[in-house]
Every structure is written in structure tokens, then in C-alpha cells.
């Protein structure tokens, strides 16, 4: 299983591993997921904290959470990398003792998506392969803003200050980047 470290498994294969973790508590399946994601999550944590030991600890917490919550992953709704990112992000938020109110799909006042699930298949907003390809076509200045937001853990106004750019420039880079990603995702229809 050690060969999986740098080899990208397809999203379906990863989703299959999560399913095996959830239903069989398969340590082998978890090891494959761990070998691929743990180095990346550790680097992600190190970018903000700048501390190897803290990064290792936060990565371990993230992966424990993946082990515990594997059954909550819904392959119909999203991709594995996005799901693991949200877990890592939330653990980083907790580490800095910030509060991030979130909506609750179980809430009776919550407004459900009325797009029928058959149509949803054609509009999978997190299609892993499409996103990967679309990200590769983003101009470097737009990609840089997204990386700073997700990895350096700073707001778009802080990014503008860091880059010495007017706020409007950063906003338009963000808008252009997501317009491109969304049209790539919708192009599947």
C-alpha cells in the first residue's frame, strides 16, 4: 500500500475506500487514504501554523475525523478532496478558537435544493476531474489569490494588503477565477 503515496487515485476509487472504512472499518482502506492525504494535510496545516509538531497533530486530528465520519461522506454530493479540505479547515478554525456559524440541513426551516437528483448528476458542482482541469487553466495571478485564501488562511482584504494591490483588483481576480470554474463545471451539461 505504500506505493499510493504520490499516485492520484480517481475520486471514485477514493470514495470506494471511504465506503470500506465506513462499512467494514477497514484499516487497509484507511491506510491508502492516509498515505495520500496525510502529507498534504500536514503541509496545509504547516503553512499557517509554521510549526511541524502542531501541523502533525492537526493532521492526525483531521485523519481521525476522516476515520470517524467516513459514513457521512455522500458521493452523490461531492468529491473526497473537497470533503477532506472542509474537515481540515474546520479543525484549523477550532485550533485558532474562532467561531464559524454554519447552516444545518436538518433544520426544518432550511430550504432544500429543488433540482431533481437526476439533473443534479449533470451539475455535480464538485466534479473532481473537471475542477482539476479547470484549475490548471487559471492564470497565475488568479490561482495565487485562491491559494493564499485557502492555504495562508487570510481574508481577501488581507490578500490585497499583502500583495499591495487595490481591493477591487483582488475582488475581480476572485470573480474571474470562479466564473471560469463555474462555466467549466456547467459546460458538462
Amino acid at each position: 500500500m505504500t506505493q499510493t503515496k504520490n499516485q492520484t487515485l480517481s475520486n471514485d476509487e477514493m470514495a470506494g475506500l471511504l465506503k470500506a472504512i465506513a462499512s467494514d472499518r477497514s484499516v487497509d482502506a484507511f491506510e491508502a487514504v492516509f498515505r495520500f492525504y496525510s502529507p498534504r494535510v500536514r503541509s496545509f496545516m504547516a503553512m499557517k501554523t509554521g510549526d511541524r509538531q502542531i501541523a502533525e497533530e492537526l493532521m492526525q486530528e483531521t485523519m481521525v475525523s476522516v476515520w470517524n465520519k467516513a459514513g457521512q461522506f455522500d458521493p452523490e454530493r461531492g468529491n473526497v478532496s473537497a470533503w477532506i479540505f472542509t474537515i481540515a479547515r474546520n479543525i484549523r478554525i477550532d485550533f485558532y478558537r474562532r467561531r464559524r456559524p454554519a447552516f444545518d440541513p436538518q433544520d426544518p426551516v432550511f430550504v432544500n435544493d429543488d433540482i431533481p437528483s437526476a439533473e443534479m448528476e449533470f451539475e455535480r458542482v464538485q466534479d473532481a476531474a473537471l475542477l482539476r482541469d479547470a484549475m490548471a487553466t487559471l492564470p497565475p495571478d488568479q490561482l495565487d489569490v485562491l491559494k493564499r485564501a485557502f492555504f495562508d488562511d487570510v481574508s481577501h482584504s488581507t490578500i490585497a494588503t499583502d500583495l499591495g494591490l487595490p481591493l477591487g483588483t483582488v475582488k475581480s481576480r476572485i470573480r474571474l477565477a470562479f466564473e471560469k470554474l463555474r462555466s467549466a463545471l456547467e459546460g458538462r451539461r
Binding site: 498534504r40 502533525e56 485523519m63
Partner: protein, 219 residues
């Protein structure tokens, strides 16, 4: 529900990346509870983050990382995560989560404070010192009372509607305003307009005299 006014990409990105403070996040998340379209945009952003995560260089991997992980797993008992449906508020459908956790389920029990001219507000306490969050109740057909704010302001309509220039904002609609935007919102006739509003916190003056009288003046 027909929502026409949505979150901007930059605000959604700050939320998706975990960089939006509690006050702003409360309004952003409450809008998304009512807006499947912004939730899909959020999911696309998290998808982009996932694609970036796959590309992160793996450096400095401790050799015993997996061994330690495995040991840790042995100590874990899987607690059954039961999705407990939130207590169904009887007939109270104005406040979705996460707002309900802050103000309670029932509109009729909100302890409004008079602002004058028939308008009311309720300050919503948060742990976020950089913002001020409140509920506003504007009488039907009346303008939103004069309010000064520094910097950004987000207003989410929960009941009734208001008109700002040529734009109409109804339940679920969100208005994002900068301090350079001159706006004169006016509640539509027929029903009081209930909004959730967040602004940047008023500047804290350093002078001790000002700090002393600030609570008295309630600035």
C-alpha cells in the same frame, strides 16, 4: 422562495476558506440556509480547495506517522453519529439556523428595543469584537432610520421586504453595501420588514474619557 440578491464571490470565498469572522459568518450562513444557489457556489469553491489540496507538496513526512495513527485508531471507539433533527419550532419559520441559536425560535418573543419612529432593533451578542450584529424591525412603508456605519454592511431580509432605489429585497435576499454607497432603504407597505444586519464595529476610541462615557451614550 425566489431570491434575486446573492452573496458576492469574495464574501463566499472568505467563508469557504474559513476567514470570515463570526458576525459576518452568521449572516452569510443564514442566507445560505435559505439559498440553494449560493450553497452550490460554496460547494464549487470547496471543490476548488480540494483540487488545490491534491497538488500540495508533501514534504518533511515523519517516518512513524502512520504507526502513530494506527495506534491512535486502536483507542477509538466509534460513537454512532445520530443525526438528531433540530427541535421543530412550532409555526416559527422566520429564523433558520444558525440564526435561531442566537435569537431563539420565536419572532413574537424577541425583546425589541425602540429606535424611534416606530422602528425597533435587537443587538445580537457574539464573541466577535470586530462586528456588530442586530435584528431590525422597520414599520411597513417607512424608511430605515438614519444609521451611520463604517465600512461594509450586510443586510438579510427575513420577513416583509424593502426597496432600495430600483431594487426590491424580499425574504432571503441579501444586500451588500460599502460605506461609499449612498442608500435609502424603505420598507414596503403591508408588512413590517424584519432584517438581520451586520456592520463593522464602531471604532474604539483610545481616550479613557470617551471610553468611560461610551456605555452611557450607547454609541
Amino acid at each position: 422562495m425566489n431570491i434575486n440578491h446573492h452573496l458576492s464571490d469574495e464574501l463566499l470565498l472568505d467563508y469557504a476558506s474559513g476567514n470570515l469572522s463570526e458576525g459576518w459568518s452568521l449572516v452569510v450562513a443564514t442566507h445560505m440556509a435559505m439559498c440553494p444557489s449560493c450553497r452550490r457556489r460554496l460547494a464549487a469553491m470547496e471543490g476548488a480547495a480540494g483540487a488545490l489540496l491534491e497538488k500540495v507538496d508533501a514534504t518533511d513526512v515523519p517516518v512513524d506517522s502512520w504507526e502513530r495513527m494506527k495506534q491512535r485508531l486502536e483507542g477509538i471507539r466509534i460513537e454512532e453519529v445520530k443525526q438528531t433533527p433540530a427541535a421543530a419550532p412550532s409555526g416559527a419559520t422566520v429564523f433558520p439556523e444558525p440564526l435561531r441559536s442566537y435569537v431563539g425560535a420565536d419572532l413574537s418573543t424577541v425583546k425589541w428595543q425602540a429606535l424611534g419612529l416606530g422602528a425597533y432593533h435587537l443587538r445580537i451578542p457574539t464573541d466577535d469584537p470586530t462586528t456588530q450584529v442586530r435584528l431590525l424591525r422597520i414599520p411597513a412603508g417607512k424608511p430605515v432610520p438614519e444609521h451611520t456605519h463604517v465600512g461594509r454592511e450586510l443586510t438579510l431580509v427575513l420577513a416583509g421586504s424593502f426597496r432600495d432605489g430600483s431594487d426590491l429585497f424580499g425574504r432571503g435576499d441579501i444586500e451588500e453595501a460599502d460605506d461609499d454607497l449612498l442608500h435609502t432603504p424603505k420598507a414596503s407597505p403591508g408588512e413590517d420588514c424584519i432584517c438581520l444586519a451586520v456592520t463593522e464595529a464602531p471604532l474604539k476610541f483610545s481616550s479613557w474619557i470617551v471610553r468611560l462615557i461610551q456605555p452611557i451614550l450607547k454609541i
